[in-house]
Amino acid sequence: MPGSVDTVKPDAAPPEAIKAVPVRHPGRWVAVAVLAVLAAMFVHMLVTNKAFQWSFIIDNAFRPNIVEGVRTTVLLTVLSMVIGVVIGVVLAIMRLSGNPILSGVAWLYTWFFRAVPRLVLAILFGNMGILYTKYHVGGVPFSEQVGDLLGVDMSGTLFSINANTFLTGFMAGLLALALSEGAYMAEIVRAGMLSVDPGQNEAAGALGMSRMQTLRRIVLPQAMRVIVPPTGNETIAMLKDTSLVAFVPVTNELFFQLKSVGDKSFNVFPMLVASCMWYLVLTSVLLVAQHYIERYFARGTALAGERRAGFRALGFGGGK
């Protein structure tokens, strides 16, 4: 073939796929062996140690009052997180608003509720009834005075609620948890909002979008990628902190119920084990929920596809 050098041969077979001997990892196998032995010892202990009393656990871990406790705990967790996130978003917006009064108020709130332990808050809110018999809510100051002027009894109807009925255990516990959560969420949301490229704000502004529209449609959805993982942490912490409301007191909460079964039957240890298992189960459910939420907010990023694959490798996701 004189004159022409053909680098592309149309008829050439595709090159053979590489079959190489993969790198060996002997260290991994040693680790697996050690872990297997430890796991076997642990299971052996679980099964043979009489103190666990597995049949007692199984008989008692699903009693109606304990199922009721699960319900209360889940409800408290969900409600206080929802309220906490809403408060957190509002506080974060206030902090970043550039208005010194708003950001000062937000700072003060965060300062107070992060400083006081949740246990103290729970007890404090449980005893609020001592301070007032009536609470004025709805953000209308001087409503009574206005009512007097108009000759209407406003205090008894719209704007206040009797403290003794409102701040019963559940409400007091919920408030304590939600208000304190709001302070932590504020910092998480603020970090999330700061993580969004300022160019996004400019682009939205240049299109004539208002600040509120920009926040809701552009900044917050992108901030969610940073906000969701620590919020998952917060939710799990909250699930466990609901046991603090026993001090309000709210007694139909999960841990209190499990422990009382143990106390009454003088079988404390098995019910503590049952508690561990209940919290493990509930936390696992939360983890799965978090995975799907993260995936939703990762849309449009290169991460979206990867995360799916990673989770499947751990054996969680369905499908192939």
């Binding site: 682009a203 502004g205 240049a206 299109l207 004539g208 979008m209 992108q222 449009g300 990023t301």
Partner: protein, 266 residues
Amino acid sequence: MSEPDGAAKAAGTAGPMVKAEAVHKHFGRVEVLKGIDLEVASGEVMCVIGPSGSGKSTFLRCINHLEKIDAGRLWVNGHLMGYRQKGDKLYELRDKEVSAQRREIGMVFQRFNLFPHMTAMENVYEAPIRVRREGRGKARERAAALLERVGLGDRKDSYPSQLSGGQQQRVAIARALAMEPKLMLFDEPTSALDPELVGEVLEVMKQLARDGMTMVVVTHEMGFAREVGDSLVFMDDGVVVEEGTPRDVLADPRHQRTRDFLSKVL
């Protein structure tokens, strides 16, 4: 919007699209714009060149009031940007009114600034739906047509991260056009692109110029300036050093500073 209607309209049709009078801007103690006087006629394509840090981006951002100017006056389509004048007094406009003024002005950024959590389509119809309160159906139709126009009819459902730089910038142009602006600002629209992707973006901009859009383009693409620009402005150190037709300024600059700059970039 809330201006005396007759005056604004008259100014809008007869006067220049952009009129800057002694525009000053400083950041802290650094004076970035030191008195800019410029006029851009309706339908004109003005290209702006100048060394980095000379205040080109800042000036563009002043035009649509992303930056507040410290002295001087700036009108777009007859509207005094950011303020209402009554007698000798200036009143700051509220956010809402500033947003309304910005709707007449499209802006394209060096780094695209597409919304990464939205598809190309969603990027384009977001503002029409939220800001102009357009119906979803109509907004989608227009968005599809705009993406077609910038040659991305087949990438409607791609996220920005799945598009090349050139494609992203074309989506950004379509997004700005969706608000049907009377003026388009381009801040170095091709500077962040790989060389082989510059052409496709410039092509879209040329088409836009041919369609009669008023454009202010900060660019280092001298070929584009020569071919498409009606006027060329050379800025340095916060002032307009030289202004003229691209042919004149590029071939026969009158100022030493212009000559020095051109000798570096040409």
